[in-house]
Symmetry: C2
Subunit: 608 residues, 2 copies
Amino acid sequence: MSTLRPTLEFLLYDWLHAESLTERERFADHSRETFGAVMDICERIAREKYAPFNRLVDTEEPRFDGERVILPRATHEAHAAYVGSGMLGAAQDYELGGMQLPYTIEAAAGTFFATASVSIGGGLLTIGNANLLMAHGTPLQREVFARNEFSGRFSGTMCLSEPQAGSSLSDIATRALPDGPDFEADPLGPRYRLRGNKMWISAGEHELAENIVHLVLAKIPGPDGKPVPGTRGISLFVVPKKLVDTEGRLTGERNDIALAGLNHKLGWRGTTNTLLNFGEGSFPVRGGAGAIGYLVGRPGEGLRCMFHMMNEARIGIGMAATSLGLAGYQASLEYAKNRPQGRPVGPAGKDPAQPQVRIIEHADVKRMLLAQKSYCEGALALLLYCARLVDEQHTGTPEAADEARLLLEVLTPVAKSWPSEFCLEANSLAIQVHGGYGYTRDFPVEQYWRDNRLNMIHEGTHGIQAADLLGRKVVMEGGKGLALLAARINATIERAIQQPQLAEHANALGQALQKVGAATKAAWATANAAEALANAVPYMQAFGHLVIAWTWLDVLLALPAQVERPAEEGRVRAARYFFHYELPRIPAWLRVVETRDPTCATMPEDAF
Amino acid sequence: MSTLRPTLEFLLYDWLHAESLTERERFADHSRETFGAVMDICERIAREKYAPFNRLVDTEEPRFDGERVILPRATHEAHAAYVGSGMLGAAQDYELGGMQLPYTIEAAAGTFFATASVSIGGGLLTIGNANLLMAHGTPLQREVFARNEFSGRFSGTMCLSEPQAGSSLSDIATRALPDGPDFEADPLGPRYRLRGNKMWISAGEHELAENIVHLVLAKIPGPDGKPVPGTRGISLFVVPKKLVDTEGRLTGERNDIALAGLNHKLGWRGTTNTLLNFGEGSFPVRGGAGAIGYLVGRPGEGLRCMFHMMNEARIGIGMAATSLGLAGYQASLEYAKNRPQGRPVGPAGKDPAQPQVRIIEHADVKRMLLAQKSYCEGALALLLYCARLVDEQHTGTPEAADEARLLLEVLTPVAKSWPSEFCLEANSLAIQVHGGYGYTRDFPVEQYWRDNRLNMIHEGTHGIQAADLLGRKVVMEGGKGLALLAARINATIERAIQQPQLAEHANALGQALQKVGAATKAAWATANAAEALANAVPYMQAFGHLVIAWTWLDVLLALPAQVERPAEEGRVRAARYFFHYELPRIPAWLRVVETRDPTCATMPEDAF
């Protein structure tokens, strides 16, 4: 039996006191019971409609028959059940048909789907898309597009990357030209014609919903007719696959968006990933050239608007990575409990006439299981903490909201990158526990590992996250975010140090915090960004380990001083694993940061 | 252009002085030119017959049509070209049709095939199988089986594991019963009837050769009719797929070996991997029940015989892992040199009107490339060093041969495990350099990563290697092997410390050696194997890093004091990367070894 539900409940209620959110006006109708009902529904749908088809969606990859993208029937049924659960709009206002559910609970419930089949997927993109429109769209854009996304009638995408511009958005070449002299008069927003190619668009083409709402970054040419260079030239457009009227009804006309190709991936195959051509003339529409798109927000502010959905999207990726890690942990735990092989080390194991023991009795198998538990449950705790901060940002007092915002700025790169790296490592350990069987497609763990490899790449690669963390987040607003995080960590240390059984961890965490702080200063000592950021990834790895160690120590504070139940003992052990086996890795990462080691940065190209 | 050939030549000649082997009688006809000719042939075959089909053999997995296992035509052609190269018997005596090639050169040449397509494969198993028969078989077994393997007429397998006995060979259940009263009179060796199932048998069924020679571990029942428990009950048998006469001709009769299933793997799909049923009655032969097998060596000594092929097999696995790492390094280097994306950090990169730079100009991409180079070329150097020790063991003076044997005992677990772990990490970095493209099947790196994941599992898992290293190899013969390795490392340190540019590395290596030595003692301080081995894998990781750092420092001693050429600068940088970014990881691994940390070993099962 999966330990996911009790782990979530412990973290949500014993640690994060999520039920205290119901004291706030927005969540006043909720209670631990209503939260539980949401979790029940999601858990059931995931068990019945997702988990049984995870391998199927891997082997029956999306294909294009020339007209339509074909997905397995199981994907349609899972999607329908997901829509039926109401989760797409769960966080929205009652008047929009939502249930004003805290994001913390939404994020927690999402793990059921992601552990069952990450690539059938939940509503991450659709929700993010619609949330962005709620924040930056006109009232009619919200009504026509967002509302229909929350109801599941339409689905959503983010169209940022282009074949020649992956991480470098300032180099996008998609252009948007005003559509006729009356372009500003369109009730759906200033109407443009878009032409360009968008790469890596997840869920960019399918038949799961009536329509697909693309949010597209493009450049409006300046007065000289040329696109404005850099990111300040980027604007945001809502570009529906099928045109709609002001009531959100399909007009029957298709927009000029053509599927140029499906990407054939290493994993995550249940989700289509596409190259889309906008306005190339495959579906000429209303006599003009280009796909019709409506401006969202003001011209030149596209990236700022898009970043609105970035924090939640990045937490979502971290949650996907964590869920895959947890799925592998459960699978390998189950295997280890049932597979007999070998005998104990030492005298007890010398008699070959004795039966073999189950592999969970071997120290090295326990090590591989405990590492997984420590990585994945630690990551889960951090992500729920971040989700709780999102709720604080939206519903807390002004001071608390601003603190939450700042903490999220600093923690988001970690919440996205750390699980991507270490829950992937957990999946590799899950394979290793299975031995040769883990390397076959008869067991689920190899797929988890393949699926998880995506998470270090999409929504900003590891390198991008690291540059964001060290180059921006820890120095922004005079280092206020980092100082705030340090204060939270110190508060945890001060509580823990008073408990004899936690004092050792508290001291170790204090030293790690001091080291990371010193390394941050040393990296920037010359105020030269190229030198500071030359080792940004090792910095992020050390920073991430600090944050997860802090998370674990804080989680331990929610346990009784005398642990008695096995689950409590498990958390104590997982934390101890992290403090004994993982936290000591920090100095090795920081060494090159502190010295601004130039070994890599100055490597001559011809010496490779 | 691949840098593999010049790297190999540098390591073989400038560092290992491989041409000095030609001063020995066995290799007297050889010269650097004849070695070069062998390398030329292998490089050409790999380029023409292997590399173009690496993706094909991944997508056209082996399948069984009810009678035969079908492999792509390209595999047949690659195999034929490989056989034609003479590499199968290259190391053998002239009188056996060999060319008395040093193993060092054979191993080096093998990297061309493994980088081009690891799963089309070379002759690892066939050569190992035949070498075992040369060492332990009767003259007729050598003539009938080994000789035909060296010529490529027959191919070979190792049949150790069973579904219920993977790593635990003492639990195999395959039985061998004497075949009739005259069983000892068969000219091919004492004749038995075998019944049982063998799992994970690579190349267990195919049509690439006229016959398949299985070397099978099985138990001969004791006087009480029961199999002898433990490993001392294990005997070794040669079991041909098709029966042969004393001239090695096929008799036309098929032996009772049935393909029970093909394993469907995560990678390495160009090689069939099988479950074989011996003697289940699918092909009843000569009226008896069971597959016919001929005893090799003496009853009960099967495992000892089998271990004869283990060292070379494990070096072979390390070489495969390393080759995959090198292939990913080359692919990502090529990509990074050609992919424009983004701009430099700092003022130079602020102008979006400037064109994008190639990603190899970014510090973090350089870091990922240099890490790959450091891992993979370091591993390559170690493996060639081990191969050189194999030659020393076979052709050196008695003292040198014994030293080589001892060093190989200690180094083999590292040579197998370290590349399996860190060249896999290199492959992950190769994906990361490619960004989203690396996650698609349009680029080769995802396949390298999948293929490489096998190497931590087969030929003894990571856990098995670690228990072997810490439980046996560093303590055997009173710690003589470890002392010898330490003496070699100290000799390198003493030479390096005299060169100002190497002194820092030499000091760091000295400290690491001291730490590993102390941890070895501390692990065994209570003389309790269960305590000592509870953290055997972290110990092996630290030990491996020590060995690779030593290898790199020793390699640097082969460079001129003033490096001038780019390739030389590259080696200096790769070594420096290892000393600055990797060696400092050792204390974190050893901490739990020194304290015999029981966090994992004593974890209660119900706390997971």
